[in-house]
Symmetry: C2
Subunit: 333 residues, 2 copies
């Protein structure tokens, strides 16, 4: 029995290319002590994973040529050496881009059988939890605030905007096409959207935020962060979640003008965060998010690709903004 | 009776020059309703004042050619139209660079007669209060933390470092000469100093902060902020107080690399602040600071210039780092 896998063929230089990966038939993993063997159902591809490929520059650890590409998946347990996890359980775990993964049980979270496991790649997984804690704990929006979010049609951004609406905020999403913008305002309840690729972007942002910005949820860094700094109100909060504008390059831009001058003048707080700092509170967050999904207040957008062979191209496309919502790779089995 | 004044002759373009100012004999101000007439004893020149000359780019309001140069002074009341302030009271107020100022009483703070009024230009004035609130309320140092401060021999910086020692922190000061550095470590109790003009500055900073930096008090922005970002520990706090590296120019640098990438990876918080947001707590701060001065735990460095005519050159020199501690202009009377 074989285990189809996508390996990192070489760490990318400059922009990621799909041939930086290699599809192989690897050996079926052997189940060690305290491990479970998972058959992958699907995994998510997220922009943050690109940061990992920059090695030590990122929080995601240092992947290397020849290793299985990393990623969070959901799957079914087909063998287990631990009492707490049974064969047949649905789980979420860092499966990587492969059909089968043998993982230490403490990396594996059993999914409530009442829930759709795919939710654990989106609103109840890394993306949704990141939106939840970044917005609520770092951004701290108050009712009536204006909340701006970049990569607003992305896996995290589309949930940030909806969660901000649940907090009774005015929500402005920045994205890279008018079509995505319409989706945000027409389907997801965003108040306004602005296309950062427009020549008039800065003027449009100004018009979309007539009362300034109280909370900016930054997924991109770079130019959009720079534009947000000039719209922030006194006492505004910037939740620094990611720097997608700078991941897929060897030559990152300098930081935005206005740091630290505008931070001082307008007493702005910029705070970086990583999801795992909130690990003690995942259960509470998942309970809230599940409630919002059930009541229809939160809609999860996902965008599916089928088959491991399609994953590398799906990742390259995501990095150029091709996705809407969470990009999921379903394994054909 | 005349009122010697220093006027802004023109708003500076590029670097400030002493001939951007003009010394004149103006009219003696007339005392209006709810006003007091103050004879200036001395005023402080601070780098932050340079920001004001950039007009709308700064919090300090918009000065204009032909106006008296702004600044905080101490003086003696020689006439009063309000009950709460008597002739003979020593006060601190935004006198500007002039011999006599008629000011609305609500801009005037009466000084405790037990205190040396000059302290109100230093440790108990804008500089000391800025150090106090920026360090304690924004930087939030804990005992054992490493605290780094830039412009460490300046009016704010030399007090930040001493206040951090009072909090039992390890203190590293960044300044622009070895002589200043020795003053910090030999006279003020700083643990280490680093000269940012040294070719090896980054390596020296690394060696001076073997356990990283928990709190960085940023008076400068620019390159020194950039260097601090690479030394910050997980969860570190950057108190953004000022941007002296960028005041005396028409062409500010871009922001530092590492914003927002390093903020995310290391969950760093950068927070801008302005002193007047803490106005409700000045009395408590002055009481703490007075206690530290009396007990010898806090030493105020000051650096005096005599006569209004010397003030413009004193300001230009300050902006190139010529001062040690608080630069005070005493009026010769």
């Amino acid at each position: 029995m074989e285990n189809q896998q996508v390996l990192i063929d070489r760490l990318p230089s400059g922009k990621l290319k799909s041939d930086d990966y290699r599809l192989v038939d690897g050996p079926m993993p052997e189940l060690g002590p305290d491990q479970v063997l998972i058959k992958t159902i699907a995994f998510a591809i997220t922009a943050g994973t690109r940061a990992g490929l920059q090695g030590s520059a990122s929080y995601a650890g240092a992947p290397a040529a020849g290793r299985v590409m990393n990623g969070t998946g959901v799957g079914e347990v087909i063998a287990s050496n631990v009492e707490s996890i049974a064969v047949g359980d649905r789980v979420t775990a860092p499966t990587g881009w492969q059909q089968y993964a043998a993982l230490m049980a403490d990396l594996v979270t059993v999914i409530d059988p009442a829930h759709d496991p795919i939710h654990y790649l989106g609103p109840m997984g890394v993306n949704g939890l990141t939106a939840y804690f970044g917005l609520l704990e770092v951004g701290k929006p108050k009712a009536g605030n204006t909340v701006m979010v970049s990569a607003a049609a992305g896996s995290v951004g589309h949930m940030v905007g909806q969660m901000a609406k649940i907090q009774d905020c005015h929500v402005v999403g920045v994205c890279g096409s008018d079509e995505k913008g319409r989706l945000l305002t027409e389907k997801l309840g965003f108040d306004r959207s602005v296309n950062y690729k427009d020549a008039n972007y800065r003027q449009s942002l100004k018009e979309a935020t007539p009362e300034g910005v109280d909370v900016y949820f930054d997924n991109t860094g770079g130019m959009i962060l720079g534009s947000a700094l000039f719209r922030m109100n006194v006492g505004g909060r910037i939740a620094c979640c990611g720097v997608v504008s700078q991941y897929d390059t060897d030559t990152p831009e300098p930081g935005p003008k206005g740091v630290p001058g505008l931070l001082v003048n307008n007493r702005i707080t910029m705070q970086g965060f990583l999801l795992f700092d909130f690990a003690d509170h995942y259960a509470r967050a998942r309970s809230d998010i599940y409630g919002w999904l059930e009541s229809g207040r939160l809609t999860s957008l996902q965008d599916e690709v089928v088959g491991l062979a399609a994953a590398p191209e799906g990742f390259v496309d995501l990095l150029s903004g091709g996705n809407v919502g969470t990009r999921i790779v379903r394994l054909d089995q």
